[in-house]
């Protein structure tokens, strides 16, 4: 009994010191991380906006892929939308931000967060990765499997099919969602 109590106290001491040290570290790093995340999101929104005026964010509840939308306008007319998207990749949830014309045509997309395998699925965070989807969603369907891609694009996603599928399905869902919104406000 005494021995077990002693063991418990030793473990408690180690855990308490560790927790205190981590709490101190977190208090220093958390604001820096939050600032990075905010800046990354703002940069991503500006990058996908195609030069249009960015409106205010409207949260979307209960959709499997779409988390929020933001109007893109020109001379007071809504010409497109930025859509916040989420998908399920190989390493867990990934989040994207994508801009569409009101027709559902994808203009730009960027991966915001992911836990994909470095060197394979994580390549989806590269700017060049999303070019294969640009201009699709209205007249041309968004490529959701590798057979719809050119040989070069298909090779670029080889070894990371689950990530490609997650990104493609999210972008397709965003396009379908935008088509339901229309362009006149």
């Amino acid at each position: 009994m005494t021995k077990n109590l002693k063991y418990g106290l030793i473990l408690l001491t180690i855990c308490a010191i560790s927790a205190f040290a981590l709490a101190m570290t977190n208090s220093i790093t958390a604001p820096v991380i939050a600032q990075h995340d905010y800046e990354a999101r703002q940069l991503a929104l500006t990058a996908v906006s195609n030069g249009y005026a960015i409106g205010t964010e409207a949260a979307v509840e209960g959709d499997q892929y779409v988390t929020y939308t933001i109007d893109l306008s020109e001379n007071g007319k809504v010409v497109g939308y930025i859509v916040g998207l989420k998908g399920s990749g190989y390493g867990g949830e990934l989040t994207l931000v994508a801009s569409y014309k009101t027709s559902g045509e994808l203009m730009f997309a960027q991966l915001l967060t992911n836990s994909e395998t470095p060197g394979l699925g994580a390549k989806a965070a590269d700017v060049a990765y999303m070019t294969k989807f640009q201009g699709t969603g209205a007249d041309k369907p968004i490529p959701t499997n590798k057979s719809m891609l050119s040989d070069a694009d298909s090779q670029a996603v080889s070894g990371a099919s689950i990530t490609f599928g997650a990104v493609a399905r999210s972008l397709e869902a965003g396009s379908e969602y935008v088509k339901t919104l229309g362009g006149v406000k």
Partner: protein, 208 residues
């Protein structure tokens, strides 16, 4: 064993990757790019150094029957610490390491050295062991990543600095990549060849 041998054994004789075969999961996973290998090596180096140091200092305080949970708490805390610091101050490296950074907690090299060495030796010897082992890990991982990236993509990816994008395109290899080297079979193939080389080198030394 002399201090010098303690330090150098991890480089070749007891190299953690090619001789002890420890921590192979993250090694095979992150060795697709040189920058990933360098980032992972830095994380392992920090955690191994401090875990060896702390566990060696506490070896008389931690009873044998609870040593595993105690070591895991120490190692997990160090990994959480480096995760928060990397996320805040080197977000690009943090993003590129992805899931492999938290997996350092269960990296066999860390727990293996804590159990086999730090728990039985002085703080100074444990520090030397950690430096030798982590440098051996870094050299092995970087070598594997260099070969895989060179043949698989024709590039060497380092860290962007100023006008330097961080990616060096290697002539000929860049135009003629052998994609399998970037994929899992390529990792196992190169790993096997390097393991064979280390075994051959070690048996050659024994025969002398």
């Amino acid at each position: 064993m002399s201090k010098m041998k303690e330090l150098s054994k991890g480089l070749f004789k007891d190299n953690p990757i090619f001789v002890l075969m420890l921590g192979l999961c993250p090694v095979l996973g992150v060795s697709t790019q040189v920058s990933n290998a360098i980032g992972m090596s830095a994380g392992v180096m920090f955690v191994l150094l401090f875990s060896n140091m702390i566990i060696s200092a506490l070896r008389k305080f931690i009873p044998a029957s609870i040593h595993i949970p105690a070591y895991i708490v120490v190692i997990a805390s160090l990994v959480s610490f480096i995760q928060m610091v990397m996320h805040a101050f080197v977000p690009a490296v943090y993003a590129s390491l992805g899931v492999y950074l938290p997996l350092i907690v269960v990296n066999c090299i860390i727990l293996g050295r804590a159990e086999a060495f730090a728990s039985k030796n002085t703080v100074v010897d444990s520090i030397l062991d950690a430096i030798g082992m982590s440098v051996g890990f870094a050299l092995g991982l970087t070598l594997l990543a260099t070969i895989r990236e060179l043949f698989g993509s024709g590039t060497i990816t380092l860290f962007p600095m100023g006008s330097f994008s961080g990616v060096i395109n290697i002539p000929w290899f860049y135009d003629n990549p052998i994609r399998v080297f970037s994929l899992a079979p390529g990792a196992l193939l190169i790993m096997g060849l390097l393991k064979a080389f280390f075994d051959w080198n070690s048996s050659r030394k024994k025969d002398r």
